[in-house]
Symmetry: C2
DNA sequence: CTACTATATGCAACTTTTTGCATATATAAT
DNA sequence: ATTATATATGCAAAAAGTTGCATATAGTAG
């Protein structure tokens, strides 16, 4: 669906190899769009076949050649069009909640253990996001301009993770009671 | 993945037809596990093939026969085992955030329009969840016991949607500034 | 000296999910 | 009368995503 557009968004900012993209992705869109590296490489191939991006080889010594992808006019057009089209609301798949919903069949201790495990992961994500926010906020106001919109998505991550952790505290209290 | 387990969780609570399940699902697990009706019917078939659920026909006049599914011993075993196994953290796919991230290429007005559209959807979800919460809270404390764990997942929904709407206000202010 | 991590890709097989169609009846609203 | 909605299922094809493997080098940590 829109992994395709996520890639176009990133390549519109700057060209790069699949690997570059992957790293960039994992520090930005990856926080709210799931994708494995295979998926990204596959999409890059497809996007190239569709002519939405181009690919130039960059020779490197020792390492395999880098394929540097850039967005094309076609790609920009496609992206602009997508931006004008309404998208579906976020879709969530949260196995932990399925577990808790049906948690009667297992011990409170086991639920708490799993909840804590997830809380640790969410805390880690929050820490990363907060660190990114700090580096954004330490930029000079002129430099911030460029990142204004990405910053909004960062905020979404931060508010979301905070809410998650708040909920986890509440849930923990409730489960412990039993 | 765990649509399978989501179905087992619901059938463990009470047997029912695919359609019953679907409605139940849409008012509970559906808030944090995405699935279309086709997927549910398909999974029911698979679960039956695996012997985790059974199916009895219930004749109806006028309408097609209902297939009433129930969980089997095998199914309960499978479910209990799954509950003891750690699950992956929630995965999110949020196209709106991809859009905002790359929103430089479209007008603030268009972004705001889309943001508001999504906000309306989230508000609607929040309203539904709040209504469910109200009916839960109006139960006698003895009757609540049964729904304690599902209620926690409801709380997750409420806190999550509130956070979403808070963020949307913030984002709206920021985008409007430009 | 060895193991691990990072760089840098990608195929093949499989599972999961989505999209679009298809059917048939009952009831409530316009 | 007609239309829409709810009931009640499901197939088939396509798209998307996951899992597991495979390759090859360079640098760093133990």
């Amino acid at each position: 669906m829109s992994l395709k557009h996520a890639i176009l968004v990133l390549l519109e900012t700057e060209p790069g190899s699949g690997y570059d993209l992957l790293k960039h992705f994992n520090n930005s869109l990856g926080y709210f769009w799931n994708a494995k590296h295979q998926q990204i490489y596959l999409q890059l191939k497809k996007l190239r076949d569709e002519g939405l991006i181009t690919c130039d080889l960059e020779k490197q010594k020792g390492k395999p050649d880098k394929k540097i992808y850039s967005i094309t006019r076609e790609g920009e057009k496609e992206l602009a069009e997508w931006l004008r089209t309404p998208v579906a609301p976020n879709s969530v798949n949260d196995a932990l909640l399925v577990k808790i919903y049906g948690g009667r069949m297992c011990s409170p201790e086991e639920l708490i253990e799993e909840l804590d495990r997830h809380a640790a992961i969410h805390q880690k994500t929050l820490d990363k996001l907060t660190a990114i926010e700090q580096s954004y906020l330490s930029l000079k106001p002129e430099s911030r301009e460029k990142y204004r919109l990405p910053y909004l998505t960062l905020r979404r991550g931060i508010l979301g993770e905070n809410a998650w952790l708040e909920w986890a505290k509440e849930a923990r209290r409730e489960i412990t009671k039993s």
